[in-house]
Amino acid sequence: MRDNVHLTALENFSLSVYQNDFVSIIGPSGCGKTTLLYLLAGFLKPDNGEILYRGQPILKPDPKRTVIFQEYGLFPWKTVIENVGFALKTKGIDHHTRSEIAQKYIAMVHLSGFEHKYPYQLSGGMKQRVGIARALACEPDVILMDEPFAALDNITREILQEEIRRIWETTHKTFVLITHYIDEAIFLSQKVVVMSARPGRVKEMVEVKLPEERGPDIKTHPYFIALKNKLTQSIREEVSTSVENTGITLSKERGTIKVETG
């Protein structure tokens, strides 16, 4: 019973992400950021164009490209350790080994001692730590994050950003982050992609030339502040465009989305 109105979320969109990259995608609300992430995850299929992963089209979800969700997406009927171990369960790994591996990732996100709690017994920040551990336990090549810290308070968000940065530095997996926090994008990423208003295109891609090791104090660095102002300006332009284009555009042109890693 889907709407017959065809909303074009993305059009003429082209982006390549390379291995070990940390790419953040920012843009005005409703620019198709989440659609893009769902396409990368394989939850959605594009109407036109293609999404490639190591040269192969993405047709369905795969644990090699796992997702950390905004609303955590934890299974409320599973304890912390069962949530974290779920990806291992789908691989058919036995209960004992599964627990051992899950413990390791639970320790990595500082949740040891909470293994047997249910999600409802945890705070928002702890839930997202479980989300992170669960994604890592999947041993993915790519971690896709859909506004992972949007539901959290400021301090918790900053602490988790630092955790993610640390995890990226140590694991060197490929991260794609969708966010509307410009600070978060700059702090975490090697590259920041600014999307245009709907239908979303790549407006610009900016390299973040900050040192590899980043602490919270980097947010006061003049380069950080200058980049933040530049990106804020860039998104502001798009917000005003999206206010002008209140009508719904119908898709006619063929768009291409390409995501290549490796």
Partner: protein, 246 residues
Amino acid sequence: MKGIITIVVIIAIWQAASFAGLNPYILPAPWDIFLAFVDSVKDGSLLKHSWASFQRVAIGIILACCLSLPAAVILALNRILREFFLPVIEGLRPVPPIAWIPVAILWFGVRGDAGSYFIVFIASFFPLFINTFTAVRNIEPIHINAARSLGAGRWHLISDVAIPSTLPYLITGLRISIGVGWMGLIAAEMVVSYQGTGLGYMFQLNRDVNNPADVMVNTITIGLIGYLMNAIILYAEKKIVAWKQE
């Protein structure tokens, strides 16, 4: 705990009223009811009739589960079948279970137990159906997406996502079904004396032989069994759905 105090006080006043000369054909004294209870336990009649009724409710509900649960899952998942059959179910749902008793007599007669199963079946079908249907429709897409991006195939989606997320609704449906099934059955037994057994039949029998204390024993037993079945499901629910926030 406080409820027990109320019950004790009511019984005390009741007993006092009986001493003061309350007509036992209107309300027999608690003590006489207790004696009647002891007698019907001793001669085995209470247990026999209780067991007969319990068995009918159990069989009727198992039959309802067998049809209602698959039907609810299929209609929840398939739009075309849903459009064909949901209006039929919604149309039959408001018919009170006891209104099916004459139909049960026409279809199944008054001899065997089939008619009593049918009444329990029809009473419990709808709450089971509606709860299961709602449960399947309410499986969160985010849980499905999360599971698939963690490598879950069809089997794990069913065992680790669909079943646990629908279970709370299903248990609620079962609890409501037992309640309405029990009510429908007692009414049916009062109208149709299936095999000459069942608490509803025992009711009629004791009324016919002018035995008010035994009628009261019956009423209390019917309430007690209904209460116990409900309590057992509530207990099971607490154990099975421990992950739900209180």
